[in-house]
Symmetry: C2
Subunit: 346 residues, 2 copies
């Protein structure tokens, strides 16, 4: 089966996905009989391209990475993302536009349009999940297509798909863990004696923190992930909104506090959690002091992880950790999109 | 869709499964439109029962747990497990006979017969995987049925199904972790000052160690799990046999060594691993001294867990840990069988 793909957003993650698809071309064909071509690309600053006969992806990567426009690769005159979706004749849309925490737009519109055109919609954009999970899931179902978003938490590692495919009828009662890698890396570097500001700068230098780091350090990113997890895995009928998650960031954690904790063989961690309390779901993001008896104690650097409590498996934890020389990054997030694609069409 | 089930082996795990199925009867129907009846039960010491119209499971549980035979519940004269499979008219067989590490029998025959009769075959029996994975998988495929064994490692938590369903085309290059809960609990109790013998007795008293504890303490159970994981997830064409796994147990770990490690903020753990070395897969089970920088350091008591290194996700860990008052046990293993059932038929 041949699939035409379009990429809405062509930043680090989407370009890693393009390379991963190319690297896995042989095994996609041999294992699943899947072939593909890329028929549409929308970038933020390097133009738009549509060619239903297939865009040369190598050329598109080269143009974007050398700062040039991809418009010369287009056989259509297209001027925005929606036009790319509409004219690409794609079967699958990968949505990787920048996250808008308040409204989820324009990503939600991209997903709506793609699903309405009969495409599977796969996104790494948390905004679509926290602001429109129910609507987009219902729309996908009505079109017999998939709306998938594995990459939105734990950087591409299976969480949503594990619950969906591997843990049938497990009732999630609570979860707790570290889900913002940037703040975890900042706290780890502070433990090694670096200042908060220098640690933030380091995170910016390796591309895991934004120019404005407040989304990470004030706990917004973690709160939004709590919201997404609780909505999808605990109670989709009453979505937990990011602003309803009790939230405190790491700005108040001073070097003295980190030093004191270290002296006591403890560590400050930005802990995210949610639990059922009566008929409600309570979400929380807050710094906590943990000792070596906590599974969070050993999660250092850009590692992240969650412990899930269910009625059938009391404590099931997933941890995504650093390996020397391979920091969590766009390649892993890209794999989440790749896995969503294969699972949507296989 | 209605499924007839037969239970071959009706020990702690199988009886937990029978109770779990009953507890989930409503959600099986409402979520998946699955209904079921139990039409065959073979026990080790309490007889055999077949009734294609459905056995009263509550009565069967009561009889076995009060030490009586289930034969009066039978509408057929059946005298062995194979006869139960043959006459049950079941669609799904749950195989939970005792493990035979050397040959995998009679479990392998049970699976063969069930698959040949057109049943899905679901087992918690490691022997079937390490001794006949290729044959049984091929047989299942030829019958368009499933051979599933999620419960064989990490006590019912998703591992095989995560790789199969959630991590398409991920290439596993190595794994490492703690996969024998009994030895981990023994080492944890020794750290608290208990003797090896008393720790073994405790494990026997809570039902997680056998009368002859050598399968656990000499590393055989861990070696067999390494073999199963490597065979299924790394290279099914060349199964790694349990006897080919380099193996050392925990008998040489003295109280003095445990005390010394504790003084240095370290811990002895029975570590199981496998990795590709050239064209081979090397498996290993051996005590290792770990410090708090290791993800294994925090796994205490009957916890177990594995870190998987793949080409797409460098370090993906799954940990199954104790929760106060809920030790890992037959309920969790039973969930693995339950999940296999739902995933086989849904």
């Amino acid at each position: 089966m041949h699939y035409k793909l379009c990429f809405i957003g062509f930043g680090n993650v989407a370009r890693s996905l393009a390379r991963l698809l190319e690297r896995k071309r042989g095994s996609l064909k041999s294992t699943y009989d899947i072939t593909y071509s890329v028929t549409g690309i929308a970038t933020g600053r390097h133009g738009f391209a549509v060619n239903p006969d297939g865009i040369d992806v190598g050329q598109a990567l080269e143009k974007v990475e050398s700062g040039n426009s991809i418009a010369p690769l287009s056989t259509f005159q297209v001027a925005d993302s929606l036009a790319v979706i509409q004219h690409s004749q794609a079967n699958v849309m990968f949505e990787n536009s920048p996250v808008n925490y308040e409204t989820g737009q324009p990503a939600i519109d991209h997903v709506r349009v793609a699903l309405n055109l009969g495409m599977h919609a796969i996104t790494a954009n948390k905004g679509t999940v926290v602001h429109a999970y129910q609507e987009l899931t219902a729309l996908a179902k009505s079109k017999n297509k998939k709306f998938r978003f594995e990459s939105t938490v734990l950087g591409g590692s299976p969480v949503f798909s594990t619950f969906r495919e591997a843990m049938p009828l497990a009732e999630l009662t609570s979860f707790k863990g570290i889900i913002n890698a940037t703040t975890n890396l900042i706290l780890s570097r502070m433990e090694d004696g670096e200042s908060f500001d220098d640690a933030v700068k380091y995170c910016q230098s390796i591309g895991i923190a934004e120019t404005d780091p407040s989304g990470d350090v004030d706990g917004w990113d973690a709160a939004i992930k709590v919201s997404a997890l609780a909505t999808v895995l605990m109670d989709a009928s009453r979505p937990l909104k990011p602003q309803d998650v009790e939230r405190k960031g790491i700005r108040e954690i001073t070097p003295e506090m980190v030093k004191q904790a270290k002296a006591e063989k403890k560590r400050w961690k930005l802990v995210a959690s949610a639990e059922r309390v009566g008929s409600q779901i309570k979400g929380r993001v807050s710094p906590e002091l943990v000792d070596s008896s906590s599974p969070l104690y050993g999660m250092m650097g850009s590692s992240s992880g969650l412990t899930f409590s269910t009625d059938v498996l009391p404590n099931y934890s997933v941890i995504v950790s650093e390996r020397a020389g391979m920091k969590g990054g766009p390649e892993e997030t890209a794999y989440g999109l790749f896995a969503d694609f294969v699972n949507a069409v296989k």
